[in-house]
Subunit: 571 residues, 2 copies
């Protein structure tokens, strides 16, 4: 492509609303433009990168025997009502009525559609296993779209669904996808880690997220410093750090005016935060939920939601609800005598004696509260991991990092096949539910994560595997015939080799051209300047400082060597 | 691909709701499955064909310098309000509100979005011309989805938009697209004709439809038997066939009880239909519109709508409206004394003397009515062409055929750039509106049109250029090791040549395998049977009766020759 003809509107300035590097650079490199909050259009430099990622995804999935299909993004509500998710999905799912007032949604995910397709076509174990995928635009009306294509309302997703006769088959399908994802993200040049994750609204038993560590990541990931344990914060567990048991003491009510927070309590009682239990009241889908964790801990809402079988709306209770549940204002809630639909007690609170708790009475706290003797509830793990907690697998310290989720794989089991009647006849003649898995990759978000890991102060540094173009040929002065002719000749020769090449034939200063090619991140640059009279050009890699004067007949081997080095197929 | 692993649910029976051949064969060949009325999912055999068409489109457009982008299908209403089309589009445009109650539509077409993108990035004549395209899912809530993927509510469309500094630039861009389309449809194996078309809701001055002649086509196309004139029925014109002028006679009112239709009138008056004028009353967007054409003619509603500057709802008037306009019941309307917002008189009616018309009085007609003397109205071409009419270009007879519209190209001019302020600064320093064109191809519909033109009683006969697979290798008996081994070897060798090949390794009778490969339309079949002991296999083309016994070392050259013959690149 000749850059004089190309639609590549680069920006010198950082757009005001772009907070993170990948968003800034995608805008500046002319890859994307915003049309509405969380809604982007993809320009030539963008779509070329996204398609490279898509093709890597296709290749790796097809190696595992996955087959591509394409389902409609407009989905009749009946399927979602059958699975029970029409009401569960909340405002994130965009809904639309057709001219006959029939309800549809814009697919945020496609479990129902694939299950419906399969139940109509699969009857026998002989037709299984099967793994079908699509690369398709998804719609999710995020409450707070942000960070460019990291969190948008429409985005391209590869979603795959596996169909097996039993759990052993699912284990193999899941492992195949795990391996395919590992290869995909490696080929995209991403340093990434699969972590255990919660299955959330998709459902199922086991799931893993592929996380790219990044300061701008929206998710917190917990890693063990001593073993391979890794999980996202929603799912992560740690060893309880309950204090040594001591003799139970007598309950004592203490007047604590103007003492509301754990910090206030620490000062008032002159005790560390782990001597207190804090009691939080939530409203969850119309029910009241009380959760008690130690004063130095945070409630893990996902674990709480799972304990009550899932939740759509999960909010801290309004003051009047807190008062109804605890008979006191906010700040004085405690587990003794609360009247809620659910009461959950974190393990550490249950294990520890003589805690200070709210008295459920304005301006009072209670000392020496003990689970079992003074209050009851469902005991379990309802807290977030804290940096320095111990790993439940090996006892080493846990670390917390931020990450960007680029892929997510789930063992769904028979959740959808049972509710929607997707069965097959097994060898023994019996009808059994198909065992399913599902597997997603966010295409644009993967590109953003790559930029987060591959950039410098001048712009993007694309890995060769997904660069929009491999090489840019820059004549220093397009008015000098010998430079322009040599540049065109190199351009044509590289094209015929199958190299994707840009010719910067714009009438601009060479400094502007260099800046643009660095901004958009083209891996190799060939500069045709005055040395062309000696048959020499300058060769420079985007990710290196060195420039090298090489002769014209070295160009081909130089470039081929880069393809070999980066393990990218040429042509 | 091994067929034992492939998700290719073929059907023996013709599905009950599939009326036309392409719909039947797409269903039977396992290419598509219906999810809701006008909403289809694409299975592996389908998506492979659709992607082949997409890639031909890409190649031919990029030869013309078009650049691919991808815009969001979810479009904020503000853009459509700016262009004035938010209200014009009617129920066909699906609308959706986001969680903040903001209006969006699901893009039925993208003029506004592309214009918006361009007005933000283009400032100077130096950045033009530009031609951008996308291949994307469109949403149109058709009143009557039918004929499989011929008329659906979601479909894949390639839409391109050109941006030029002036009309001469647009002429070139339009011609480039005209040529690209001609190449695209030729490469798809389609016998097609570009015809003049009405510009409709898209707007603009000139447009052409690429029509595939087919009995099942939803459109009527008018062709000249003597010259290259071709237009769709909405747009087609013919020479007026007014009768010779005669002396104007005196108006005479005749009692015509129970005479309502033109047929009734022909009998009653013993005159041919062309001696009558028929007067139709319409309600168009709340206005009353009267149209008068000769008794042997039909009203062309598109021409009428264009005469009043466009129409959304265009319906024959209800009886009470007819009575308000004509003072008589249906069947006795005439042009004398009607009171309507618009009165249109077809040229033939204006040119001809002494017509019989309705009297605007129940059970009465009037003889010897003459335009000018007895009634007035806007005179113009408001009728459909009839088979046998004369061509306005050359005088030869016009013929009428049915066709499927696979592409449509428009000269938009400055319709969108003026209303939306997409301007550029010209060489002379003046701000001018960008001159636009737009160009669409329906991907799935093109595939359906190909099937309509390429099939026999056994199934689809894909042109090599868009076949889902090029070759199927069929071992007659998979239990015979020598057949299966030879088949696998051929399969592997062809794959390494870049041939897309199926191995029918299913444990089925060979007749079943042949039936399937003919149904899905694979162009070449290699059957490995008992002759393999002599090193021979059977080679058969899908579109020929002959089978040929060839030796193993002839396979490669046989197949390569087909690629050359069909002008398809291998690998």
């Amino acid at each position: 492509m000749k850059m004089s003809k190309m639609f590549m509107p680069t920006l010198r300035e950082v757009p005001a609303d772009a907070e993170i590097t990948s968003h800034q650079l995608m805008m500046r490199a002319g890859m994307i433009r915003k049309m509405a909050s969380g809604v982007y259009n993809q320009l030539p430099m963008g779509i070329r990168v996204f398609k490279k990622i898509e093709n890597i995804v296709r290749e790796e999935l097809e190696k595992k025997g996955c087959q591509e299909i394409l389902c409609s993004g407009l989905i009749p509500s009946e399927l979602w009502k059958e699975s029970g998710r029409w009401d569960v999905m909340g405002a994130e799912m965009m809904r639309v009525k057709d001219r006959n007032d029939r309800d549809f949604c814009l697919g945020p995910t496609h479990e129902e559609v694939f299950t419906d397709l399969i139940r109509q076509e699969i009857t026998s174990y002989k037709q299984l296993p099967l793994n079908l995928y699509q690369i398709q635009v998804k719609y999710r009306d995020e409450r707070r779209p942000r960070f460019g294509v990291m969190r948008t309302r429409t985005f391209t997703m590869k979603d795959a669904y596996s169909f097996d006769i039993d759990e052993a088959g699912l284990d193999k399908s899941y492992q195949d996808m795990y391996d395919a994802y590992t290869n995909i993200f490696a080929r995209c040049g991403l340093d990434n880690s699969p972590v255990q994750a919660d299955t959330g609204a998709i459902g199922g038993s086991v799931s893993a997220e592929f996380m790219v560590k990044s300061e701008v990541g929206e998710d917190e990931i917990v890693f063990c410093s001593g073993c391979d344990y890794a999980a996202n914060m929603e799912k992560a567990v740690s060893v309880n750090t309950s204090l040594d048991k001591e003799e139970m003491k007598e309950l004592t009510e203490i007047h604590t005016p103007n003492v509301h927070t754990i910090e206030d309590l620490e000062k008032f009682f002159n005790l560390p935060a782990n001597r207190f239990a804090k009691t939080l009241v939530y409203e969850v889908d119309g029910k009241t939920v009380v959760v008690v964790v130690r004063g130095d801990r945070e409630v893990n809402e996902t674990k709480v939601a799972n304990a009550i079988g899932g939740a759509v709306e999960f909010e801290l209770a309004r003051e009047e609800v807190v008062r109804a549940v605890t008979k006191a204002g906010i700040g004085f809630a405690g587990p003794i005598g609360v009247e809620a639909d659910y009461v959950f007690i974190d393990n550490e609170v249950a294990e520890q004696n003589n805690l200070v708790i709210g008295a459920n009475k304005d301006e009072y706290h209670i000392q020496n509260a003990n689970y079992g003797r003074d209050f009851e509830g469902t005991v379990g793990d309802f807290r977030n991991v804290t940096e320095g907690d111990k790993c439940t697998k090996c006892g080493s310290e846990l670390e917390i990092a931020r990450g960007v989720e680029v892929g997510h794989i789930f063992k769904l089991g028979t959740k959808y096949s049972e509710t929607m009647g997707a069965n097959y006849i097994d060898k023994d003649g019996k009808s059994k539910p198909i065992v399913m898995g599902c597997y997603g990759i966010g295409i644009e978000r993967t590109a953003a994560a790559i930029i987060e890991q591959h950039h410098d102060e001048n712009g993007i540094i694309w890995p060769l595997s997904i660069a929009p173009y491999h090489v840019v040929v820059v004549p220093v002065n397009i008015k000098k015939a010998e430079q322009m002719e040599a540049a065109e000749k190199i351009y044509n020769e590289l094209q015929s080799m199958g190299v994707e090449v840009l010719l910067d034939d714009r009438d601009e200063r060479v400094g502007v051209k260099f800046k643009d090619s660095e901004l958009v991140g083209i891996p190799m640059r060939i500069t045709v300047g005055k040395d062309i009279t000696d048959g020499k050009v300058e060769f420079k890699l985007r990710d290196a400082q060195d420039k090298e004067l090489i002769s014209l007949d070295e160009i081909k081997s130089k470039i081929e060597a880069e393809f070999v080095k980066n393990n990218v197929k040429l042509g």
